[in-house]
């Protein structure tokens, strides 16, 4: 081959490659923008529902105004609007070691704090106690605020208190927190009741009657199995992720997810790095002294202010990541968990349960304003718009409606 031919061929090849790259580039660029626009459009026209936020504690600290942008935490009205979050469960939570009347009174304080926040910002927030009220708030352009009880220890073994919480608007109760309660075992405590006690089963029946969603996040596997057997309504995991990706007791095994879905339930994916990433979890477990150091530092910075404790824990953990002690976990892990749960449990059984203001957020999901990324990532993975809407909120709303229907049936039969 003579040089000229060679060079001509080479030139032609180069041209072809160049043209090809150029074509790819010009095609790729608008396509990327199209996804972003499509994602934004889809995200902001969907009802986006987050079933677990610990912002409640911050109301009680006394230095937090939800109506103002406050970079210390992950949630406030301006950033909820920016992130297109339309409905949020604020959790009433106290440590599981506090029990009895003291626990009840503190839960009442937190319920009041949420209700006061809504009262003080009626233009932006609306208290919702049913799927219909969530939809009606959404139509009015207000963020639906719902109340959750994170831990059965707060009812002090008293069904009257459970009913009172429901009367004040609580629409789900997590049966335990990180310690067992008087009538149910937690996933992070030594088994004491072999799942649910007979009274624990009465609690489930009463929640069914009241139309409160039974939340199986935090509970032991046996408690979960007992709940599925007793509950007449579908149940959910308000903030849990997948054990197949990150083997934490707080997460759900594939088998559990399938059983949950078979009864119409939903797993709401938690964004906590220790539940998302096995690598992070391993590093944490390898250095138990870091957790102690983090706890001590939190105590130093916050004292007894619980809202502060929750958000400072996240900040200090990030300092460990930045120093290279703990591995960096990116927000895309959330999407991996969603995708896994969809493959195992089905598209109708997955939702969002961030744990904002109560956990360590992955990079790129520092606060609620970043939520549209999830929509974009799901579209990029090839999810249909209808399926994305289900994950963003429709699955949770369907679950609420079913729980409400069961409640009406039980009350009607009385």
């Amino acid at each position: 081959m003579d040089f000229r031919l060679q060079s001509r061929l080479a030139l032609a090849l180069l041209l072809c490659v160049g043209l090809g790259i150029a074509v790819m580039k010009t095609r790729a660029k608008p396509r990327g923008q199209a996804v972003a626009e499509r994602a934004r459009k889809l995200h902001f026209s969907s009802l986006v529902f987050d079933t677990h936020d610990d912002t409640t504690q911050r109301f009680l600290d006394g230095d937090f105004d939800i109506s103002k942008r406050d970079p210390r935490g992950s949630i406030d009205i301006p950033r909820m609007k920016e992130g297109g979050l339309d409905a949020v469960f604020f959790a009433a939570w106290i440590p599981s070691k506090i029990t009895g009347p003291e626990a009840v009174k503190r839960a009442i304080d937190q319920i009041d704090a949420v209700r006061q926040a809504v009262r003080e910002h009626p233009k932006d927030l609306a208290l919702a106690t049913s799927a219909e009220e969530v939809r009606s708030a959404y139509k009015q352009g207000r963020i639906a605020v719902l109340i959750a009880i994170e831990g059965g220890h707060m009812i002090a073994s008293d069904l009257g208190v459970l009913r009172t919480f429901a009367a004040l608007g609580a629409r789900y109760m997590t049966l335990t927190h990180s310690g067992n309660c008087e009538w149910a075992d937690s996933s992070t405590d030594k088994a004491a009741h072999h799942g649910l006690t007979p009274f624990g089963k009465d609690v489930i029946r009463e929640m069914n009657r009241l139309g409160m969603i039974v939340d199986i996040s935090h509970v032991s596997d046996k408690t979960f199995a007992d709940v599925l057997a007793v509950s007449k309504a579908p149940v959910f995991a308000s903030h849990s992720s997948c054990r197949a990706i990150c083997d934490a007791p707080r997460n759900m095994s594939d088998e559990m997810m399938r059983a949950l879905a078979a009864k119409g339930g939903v797993i709401q994916i938690n964004y906590h790095v220790g539940f998302l990433s096995q690598e992070f979890r391993n590093a944490e477990k390898a250095h138990p002294e870091w957790e102690k150091a983090i706890t001590a530092e939190v105590q130093k910075r916050c004292g007894e202010r619980e809202g502060c404790q929750l958000i400072e824990g996240d900040r200090i953990t990030r300092e460990y990541v930045e120093r290279g002690d703990l591995p960096r976990v990116d927000w895309t892990k959330i999407v991996e968990h969603i995708d896994h749960a969809v493959k195992v449990a089905g598209i109708d059984h997955v939702g969002l349960g961030s744990d904002f203001d109560g956990a360590n957020m992955p990079f790129g999901m520092e606060d609620v304003s970043k939520l549209p990324r999830i929509t974009q990532a799901l579209l990029e993975r090839g999810y249909s718009e209808g399926d994305v809407k289900k994950i963003l909120g429709e699955n949770t709303l369907r679950l609420m409606e079913e729980v409400e229907k069961v409640s009406r049936e039980i009350k009607g039969a009385e």
């Binding site: 009347p101 006061q116 008293d158 009913r163 009172t164 004040l168």
Partner: protein, 407 residues
Amino acid sequence: MRRVRAGLLVCFGAAALLLSQSATGDDIADRARKLHFSSIVLDTHDDTTQRFFTKTFDLGKRNPDGHIDIPRMREGGMNAIFFSIWIDGRIMGPPAVVKALDQIDAVHENVNKYSKDIVFCRTAEDVRRAHAQGKIAALMGVEGGHMIGNDIRVLRMFGDLGVRYMTLTHFYNDEWADSSTDKPAHNGLTDFGKEIVREMNRQGIMVDISHVSDKTFYDALEISKAPLIASHSSCRAICNHPRDMTDDMIKALAAKGGVIQINYEKSFIDQAYKDAQDKLSGGVVQLIDQVKKDCGDDGECMERKMAAMEKQAVAEGKLPHVSWERIIEHIDHVVKLVGPDHVGLGSDFDGATMPEGMDDCTHLPQITEALMRKGYSDADIRKILGENLLRVMEQNERVSRELRAAQ
């Protein structure tokens, strides 16, 4: 002949007069019944709530004891009732909060159980609607500020659960207000107590000054932007009991639009009875304490025991008889003092010793008839039976709306 005619005329005349008189008598009874059963008859204080926790009591059935149940309310034309949330004033803090929540829950549960007859109400409008539907209106009052656990958030949640008045104290001082039957500790209301009154105004929860010390009453009157109620107190001018109100207090209450709801308790309405009771047991608080020693926390046992002791003492002549007509005297005293707009009914049924002839709520029509016989107009009687209280409720609701709008 003339004499005979004249005699006959006198005879006929007398007969006609007698006839017309007896006709008038029947007419009043009839008119009174009609008026009573077409009016909203609202009782602001009933301790029936405690009975929900017993095994025997059933709100929907006629019970052989006690003063209140749905069949007897129907019979007595009592169509609006404040169920009282009450625990001993010495229980405080979180345990008091939980016990109060349990009682609030019990009211809701029992009312829901008989939703064909009784409906839970939060506003004066709700009460009127229930009446229009032929249903009994159920409301709630918290009898004692100790139940909020010194926590304004708990007060607000009581409000959200439907509590429409709170008595600032019971028999004992609480953390922020003095009681009329305890040694003064706060000189009336503390600063926090004043904050509580302001929050009650914001939430539309009526401030109830029954049970509080005179100084607490005047403090509350000064602070409150809405009219106050005495949910179950009578007149000290007739029976000098610290639980009752002096004429000056009643005048001050009325001047601010408030209402005194007359309590039927024997020792609050009859001086001779009160004096004899004091001699016998040292007073009502001491009496309760004595019985409590035997019964502990069993409310049903206490009620039974107190009733038996009382009955025996009356039979033995150690306590005088008290007629239900004393209630009318108290109502009339208030009307003479401040007019017909500031008095109502706060029986204390199921929580007090009823005078003879007012054995339970079926006897309420007697009150209407007695007032009619005293010459009260229909409109004035309606006010006393319930309209005055509804007016105060509406004013409290308006003040609440105004305060919230100004925030």
